[in-house]
Subunit: 210 residues, 2 copies
C-alpha cells in the first residue's frame, strides 16, 4: 500500500487531473509517456510532475518514461476510485438532476439514494433512482451507512440537512449550496463548488480589461 499521509492538498488536487489525462492517453492507445510529454499536455513543469509522482513513491524509471496504464491504475488506486463508497444526493432540482449524468462508479462512489422535499417527485424515479422524502434521511443513513452526501438543496435548508447527515455518520460532503458546512463541522471532509463565485470572478476579469 502506498503511504498516503503527509501529502499536501495541492498535490492531491492534481491527481484527478493526471488520472483524467492518463485515461485519455490510454484510450488513444498510447502506452508510454515521459514526464516531459505529460508536461506539454498538462501545462505543469516536468519537474513538478516528477515531484508529484515521487510523493507516492514514484512510478517509473528515469529516462524510460512511465507506463500509461500502470500509472493510471496506481493513481486510480491512490484516489480510491475502485473502492466504491456509498453516497446520497440531497436535492433533485435542476442541478441535482444534472449531476446524475456523472458516472459515479468511475469516481469512487455508489449512489444509493436521492432525497427531496418536493412531494411531486417523492416516490418517483429520476434517471433510474427512486426519490425519497428528506424526513427519512436519518433512518436511511442508519441502515445504508452512506459516507458522502451531495448537497444540492437551497442554502436555507442545508444546515438542518447537514446536521442530520453528520449525526448519522456521513462525514464527507460535496457541497453545491452556499452553506458553510466546515464552520459547524470542522471534522467533516468538504469539497464546495461555488458556481456563483466562479462566474463572478469572470465578471471581474472582463470588467478589468474594459
Amino acid at each position: 500500500m502506498t503511504n498516503k499521509s503527509n501529502i499536501s492538498m495541492s498535490v492531491i488536487r492534481r491527481l484527478p487531473r493526471y488520472y483524467r489525462y492518463l485515461r485519455d492517453l490510454e484510450k488513444s492507445g498510447i502506452v508510454r509517456v515521459s514526464s516531459k510529454e505529460l508536461s506539454v499536455r498538462m501545462g505543469f513543469t516536468a519537474s513538478q510532475i516528477r515531484q508529484d509522482f515521487n510523493c507516492f513513491g514514484g512510478f517509473g524509471q528515469q529516462g524510460y518514461g512511465y507506463s500509461v496504464s500502470n500509472l493510471r491504475e496506481r493513481i486510480g488506486e491512490i484516489l480510491g476510485v475502485a473502492n466504491l463508497k456509498k453516497c446520497v444526493l440531497i436535492g433533485a432540482g435542476n442541478l441535482g438532476r444534472a449531476l446524475l449524468s456523472i458516472d459515479f462508479s468511475q469516481m469512487g462512489f455508489d449512489l444509493v439514494g436521492i432525497f427531496d422535499t418536493n412531494t411531486d417527485i417523492i416516490g418517483k424515479e429520476v434517471r433510474g433512482y427512486k426519490v425519497y422524502g428528506t424526513e427519512i434521511i436519518a433512518e436511511f443513513c442508519a441502515r445504508e451507512k452512506p459516507e458522502m452526501a451531495i448537497i444540492c438543496t437551497p442554502t436555507d435548508s442545508a444546515e438542518e440537512i447537514c446536521d442530520t447527515l453528520f449525526e448519522n455518520g456521513v462525514n464527507a460532503f460535496w457541497n453545491f449550496s452556499h452553506y458553510d458546512i466546515s464552520m459547524k463541522h470542522p471534522e467533516a471532509m468538504v469539497e464546495t463548488v461555488h458556481l456563483n463565485d466562479s462566474i463572478m470572478t469572470l465578471s471581474y476579469l472582463l470588467d478589468e480589461t474594459q
Copy 2:
C-alpha cells in the same frame, strides 16, 4: 474608480464570497459589521479581511466597522456585477439547463443565446431562451458581440467551438468541459469548473481515513 490592477487572484477569488455574505447580512437587516464579526462568519482572520479591503483602498474607519450596504455596493462595483456583459451558453444538455437556474443578471452577465447540436431542441425554447444551432455561432457572435461563453459541450467538441468563439471576439470562458482552453488560447480568461476532479478528491480523502 478603484484601481484594479496588481491585485492578486487570491484576493479576487475571495471577493464574490464577501459579496455573498454581505448580501445575506443586508437581507437580515444588519447595517454595520466589523472585520472581526465578518471573520467569525467567514472563517478568514480579521487581519486578512482588513488587508483584502485595503487592496481596494479600504472601505471603513478603524474601530467603527463597515457599512454593510456601502461595502456590498463597492465590492459589487469592483466585481462589475452591475455592468452586464453579454454571454452565450454552448450546450443545453443536463448541465447547461441546470446552469439556467442561475440569475445571471446578479452575476454581471446577460445571457443572449443558447446553442446546441441537438436538432430536437434547436428552434425551441429552454427556460425562455431560444436554442440556436451551433453552425450559426460565428454569425451570431459577429452581430451580438458576446464577451463570455459558458462551455457545457462534450470535451470532444469543445476545441472547435472554442476556436470559433475566440476568433469571433469571445475572450472569456466559463468552462465545464475537460478541454483545456488556456493551452491553445493563453490570452483568454478561463474559469474551469472540474466537477469530476472535485468529487475524486473526496474519494481520496474518504479512502485515506479507512
